[in-house]
């Protein structure tokens, strides 16, 4: 159901013909070795690109700091992800339930998808105060709401005609129609929305830190290290950000697989 939907261009382009995991592994190691060699032989200055070995060393020495900062950034992302998911699904339910609500909500959400939502971070800071994590969590919530709403609304609108007729023939009430067919049928779409939103939550959480607030997350650490010309350390935090993003992506994928297993469509 999620395959080859032009609207969902992006994440799930699986490789054609899976002849083993070797090409990407070789490619990755090759790239790292090349990177190391170029940096050493050509003497690339650290501000441009530090060597992988230097970054790895920093990861080792900064490990406990990396863990605690990643927990802050990841925590914000998780809170925002859950809130935005619940909000997005609820909004999509309302929009399918009432045509008017749908017509009012849809243009706002579509506009939000084109607008740089992270720019709202300073606004939320003035509204809620700069000492709390709430502004960042709110930014993540808004960022997550958009794809979850779009995917859920699409799923809730798509009811197979044969199922709709069946429910009519069974003299089901509108509520029963929603409970027996519309909602369960939309679950794969809703889960696709969650999978797309999970890594976006991490990105929003990190970027929101660039706009000020408490200096305790990965984003703040990258800025601070770069400002102190500790480039290898900054790259170590970048690596941690990447790991956090992948973790959320894999978690989203896992939840999607678990919830929709045994489905054909």
């Amino acid at each position: 159901m999620t395959r080859a939907v032009p609207g969902a261009a992006g994440i799930d382009a699986g490789p054609r013909g899976s002849s083993g995991a070797w090409p990407p592994v070789v490619f990755g190691i090759g790239l790292l070795v090349l990177w190391e060699l170029v940096v050493r032989v050509a003497g690339v200055p650290a501000f441009l690109l530090p060597a992988p070995s230097a970054i790895a060393e920093e990861i080792g020495t900064q490990f406990s700091v990396i863990l605690s900062t990643a927990a802050i950034t990841g925590g914000n992302a998780l809170v925002g992800l859950v809130a935005g998911f619940v909000f997005g699904v609820a909004l999509a339910l309302l929009a399918t339930w009432s045509r008017l609500v749908g017509e009012l909500v849809t243009p706002v959400v579509l506009a939000a998808s084109a607008v740089p939502i992270v720019a709202l971070a300073p606004v939320f800071t003035t509204m809620f105060g700069s000492a709390t994590e709430i502004p960042r969590r709110l930014v993540v919530t808004v960022v997550v709401t958009v794809p979850v709403f779009v995917a859920s609304a699409r799923g809730l609108r798509q009811v197979r005609p044969v199922h709709a007729e069946l429910m009519t023939a069974l003299a089901a009430t509108p509520w029963q129609h929603a409970r027996f067919v519309r909602l369960p049928g939309a679950v794969p779409h809703i889960m696709t929305g969650l999978r797309l939103a999970a890594p976006a939550a991490v990105i929003a959480s990190i970027v929101a830190e660039y706009f000020g607030g408490p200096q305790n997350g990965l984003g703040s650490r990258i800025t601070a290290a770069a400002a102190n010309t500790a480039y290898a350390r900054a790259w170590a935090f970048v690596a941690a950000s990447i790991a956090l993003g992948l973790l959320f992506h894999l978690a989203g994928l896992l939840v999607e697989r678990l919830v929709t297993r045994g489905r054909t469509a």
């Binding site: 044969v162 007729e165 009519t168 023939a169 003299a171 089901a172 027996f180 369960p184 045994g262 489905r263």
Partner: protein, 257 residues
């Protein structure tokens, strides 16, 4: 009590110059326990006729009675069961839960509906697949689940819209035998839409032949529905069977020069 009663039924889609006259002057009675097939070329309105009986379409004029009630009341009372060309199973429910669906919608308690569904799965020969997912079943098996689902509220009337249309010929013949047995055991009347002449003849007490634009009944041919004492394969090889097929084919040609 007749299962279905249609008198001077008219159905038009749209109005003005673009109106399509789908059904014109349809008079038809289906008796209790009777098996009646509707056959005709595409666009003759046979599916529309079935859908009017099921209260999925509203007639433009004329009388429609289902078990003596209006179609709307019959639908609310679940006096009929319906099966479509697509099985239309809900893939997130197990096979037995799919059969339970009509009872679930109408608030029958869990133990009772489960017992009924298991009994129906035995009837359609899928007892051991109760816990399976619909996606694990072949097309023919899925259609049998759909029939079991249609039978769940113990309807006196079964409406079937080309239920075997998507199946291969061998599966189809086996399903016809199954349906004959089920109709006999439940004593339900059946209104059956099909494209296939042999299928209509072998299943039905009467075959209603229709012509297109506007949809009218051209002729009613007596079918070769076998009783409990006769196997359906014997019917398929009898000369009466071929005579009836010829009669239906000629009626079709008459209505569609």
């Amino acid at each position: 009590m007749t299962a279905v009663e249609l008198a001077d039924l008219q159905k038009r889609f749209g109005d003005g110059d673009t109106a399509v006259h789908a059904l014109d002057g349809i008079d038809l009675e289906v008796g209790a326990g009777e098996f009646v097939s509707l056959i005709g070329p595409s666009g003759c309105g046979k599916s529309t006729l079935l859908r009017v009986v099921a209260d999925l379409e509203q007639p433009t004029s004329g009388t429609v009675l289902v078990g003596g009630k209006t179609p709307h009341q019959a639908r609310l009372d679940q006096d009929y069961g319906i099966a479509f060309q697509q099985a239309g199973l809900l893939e997130w429910r197990s096979v037995v839960e799919n059969v339970e669906l009509p009872l679930h919608v109408h608030g029958i308690d869990k133990a009772e509906r489960r017992a009924r569904a298991v009994e129906l799965l035995e009837l359609v020969g899928l007892g051991e697949f109760a816990g399976a997912r619909p996606s694990e079943l072949s097309g023919g098996m899925q259609q049998r689940v759909a029939i079991a689902r249609a039978l769940a509220p113990r309807p006196r009337l079964l409406l079937m819209d080309e239920p075997f249309g998507a199946l291969d010929e061998m599966t189809r013949e086996r399903m016809q035998a199954e349906l004959l047995r089920i109709a006999r055991e439940t004593e339900a009347a059946v209104l059956f839409v099909t494209h296939s002449i042999p299928e209509a003849v072998v299943l039905s007490d009467r075959v209603v032949v229709m012509s297109p634009r506007p949809g009218r009944i051209t002729e009613v041919v007596t079918g070769e529905r076998p009783g409990a004492d006769r196997h359906v394969d014997d019917v398929r090889e009898s000369s009466a069977f071929f005579t009836a097929i010829t009669a239906v084919r000629e009626a079709l040609r008459k209505g569609h020069p």
